[in-house]
Amino acid sequence: MLDVNAARKDFPILKREMAGGRPLVYLDNSATTQKPQQVIDAMSSYYRTSNSNVHRSAHTLAEEATIGFEESREKIRNWFGAGESRVVFTSGTTEAINLVAQSWAKVNLNEGDVVVLTEMEHHADIVPWQMLTSEIGVELRWVPFDLETFELDMGAYEVAVQGASLVGAVHTSNVLGVRNPVEQMVELAHQAGAKVLIDAAQAAPHDRIGFDSLGADFLALSAHKMGGPTGIGVLLINEVAFQQMQPFMGGGDMIREVHFDYSTYQENEHRFEAGTPRIAEAIGWGAAIDWLAKWNVESIHEHGLELARFTADSLRSIPGMRVFGRQADGDGAVVSFLHDTMHANDLAVMLDAQGFAVRTGHHCAQPLLRRFDIAATNRASFWLYNTLEEASAFVEATRDICQRYS
C-alpha cells in the first residue's frame, strides 16, 4: 500500500492555502505534477555548489556538473529500462516527437510513405506529422477508437499498419486515461515492417516502462509530468533507429570537428543535443527518479486508478454529467467529464474558488474531442499525493455547483 501521507509531506505546495483559506486540492496532474522538495533542493544545490557548463573542460565544477548531468542520463536509462538503447535529452515530449519527425522520418521516409496515428493522439503527436506531409509528402492514416468503450479499433489498426513506415501512438491518453495495447501494437507494426514511436508522457508518472523489453523504436516523455522540472524530456531510441538518424539542430556539444566547409558530428547521444544542455534540469529529474524509487510504482498506479474509478463513478451519478473513459486496469488516473448545461469554464472557475484545480479545455487533443462533438471537457487527474478525501470533496463540490447553477 502506498503511504500517501508520507508522500504528501515532501510536497511543499500542498500546504498552500487557496482563496478563502481553503486547502489546495491539485487535480491537474496530467498537465504537470507537483515537485517534491528533494527535486527543488537538488536543483538549488546544483546552482549553489557545482554550477558550471559541462563537457570538455578540466576544472572541478565542470567535472562535477558533467558527472551530475551524465549520471542523470544513466538514472533515466535505468528507470525506463533502456540499457541497450539511446537516451537523448530534449526539452520535453513535444521536442522528442519533433526530433523523430525531423531526424529520423524526414531522412528515411519518402513521398507517399505512410505514418499511422491514432485518433487519440495529443497535438504533439499530430502536428509534427502534418508538417511532414507538406515537407516530404508522407501520408497519414488514422486509427479510430470506439466512442462507447473508448478502445482503439485494433482491427482497423492491423489494416492500417500494412505497408506503413511508422506508427505514432499514445501509450495512455491524456483525455480518456485509456491505456492502449502498446505491446500488441508494437508487434503488429514490426510484423508489417513499420517502426513505432510511443508517446509515454502520461504513462511515465504511473507505469514502469521497460523500453528495451517493449521493443518500440522510439519513446518520448517529459520530466515535468513525473515530479521533475520543466524544460526537459527525453527521447529513448532503439540502437538501429539511432544509427539511421541525422542531426536535427547544429551547434556546440553535438560536433566532433567544425571546419569552414564541413563538420563532423558526435556519434553518441550528444549528436542530438546541440548547445549548452539542460544541466540543472537533468539533475532535478535525476532527483525525481531517486525520489520515485522510494515508492512502489505498481502501488502508485493502483492508487491513482482507485481515485479515478471512485471519481468517475461518483460523477456519473450527477444528473446531466457525462464521463469520458473506462478506468480499466492499466488505465491512467484521469477522469474527463462534461455537464450538459453547466459551461465547462464556469464549473472550473467555481471549483477553483473552492481550491480545486482541474484542467478545462481541449487538452491539446482537439481531434479526439471533435469525435465526441465537443470542444472541451473538465478533467481531474491524480498522482500519488492525492487522497480519497480530496476526490470525494471534489465530487461533492462539483455536484453542488451543478445542482445550483446548471
Binding site: 482563496a19 478563502g20 459551461h343 469554464n345 464556469d346 472557475v349 474558488a353 473552492q354 447553477y405
Partner: protein, 150 residues
C-alpha cells in the same frame, strides 16, 4: 455615492459603483462568482436566434454575443448573452454600467472597473482578453450607432 461617468477608478456611474461595492464586500471568490451567476440572469438577453457572426465576440473562451442599441430615452443600451454564465455576468455588469449613457460617454468609458471587483481568476490572462475584446466590440458598435444617428 459615486456618480461619475466612468473615466476610471473613483469615477463610476451609480449603478456600477453599487455593484462594485457588493463585490468588494463579498466574503471570497466563491461568493463573487455566485453574484456573477445571479447577475447573468438580469441581462437583457440576446436570444440564440439573434446570434450571428456580426454579434460574436472573438477571442473569448466561451461563445459570447452582444448587440448595442438605444433605450426609450435615447440612451445607450446593451443586450448580450453567452454560453458561459460567468461571461454573461460580465456582460450584464457592462450593460448596467453603460445603460443610458451617450455614445460619446460609452466610448470614453474605462474597462478598469472589473479590476476593482476582485475577480482576478475570472479575469485570467485569457479571460481578461475575452472581456477586453467584448468591451472593445461594445465601443466599436457604439461608434457605428453614432454613425447611424448622424
Amino acid at each position: 455615492m459615486n456618480t461619475g461617468v466612468g473615466s476610471g477608478p473613483g469615477d463610476w456611474p451609480e449603478a456600477l459603483a453599487a455593484i462594485i461595492e457588493d463585490f468588494t464586500e463579498a466574503f471570497d471568490a466563491k461568493e463573487r462568482y455566485e453574484m456573477l451567476f445571479e447577475l447573468a440572469e438580469q441581462v437583457d438577453e440576446l436570444p440564440l436566434e439573434e446570434w450571428t457572426a456580426k454579434t460574436k465576440v472573438h477571442g473569448c473562451q466561451s461563445e459570447a454575443h452582444i448587440m448595442v442599441g438605444l433605450n426609450e430615452n435615447g440612451g445607450f443600451h446593451l443586450r448580450g448573452a453567452a454560453d458561459s454564465r460567468i461571461v454573461q455576468g460580465l456582460i450584464a455588469i457592462t450593460a448596467s454600467a453603460l445603460e443610458g449613457l451617450s455614445v460619446t460617454q460609452v466610448r470614453a468609458f474605462s474597462p478598469k472597473f472589473v479590476e476593482e471587483m476582485g475577480l482576478s481568476s475570472a479575469l485570467s490572462p485569457n479571460r481578461a482578453n475575452g472581456f477586453l475584446n467584448m468591451f472593445k466590440k461594445v465601443k466599436e458598435e457604439a461608434t457605428l450607432l453614432e454613425g447611424q444617428d448622424g
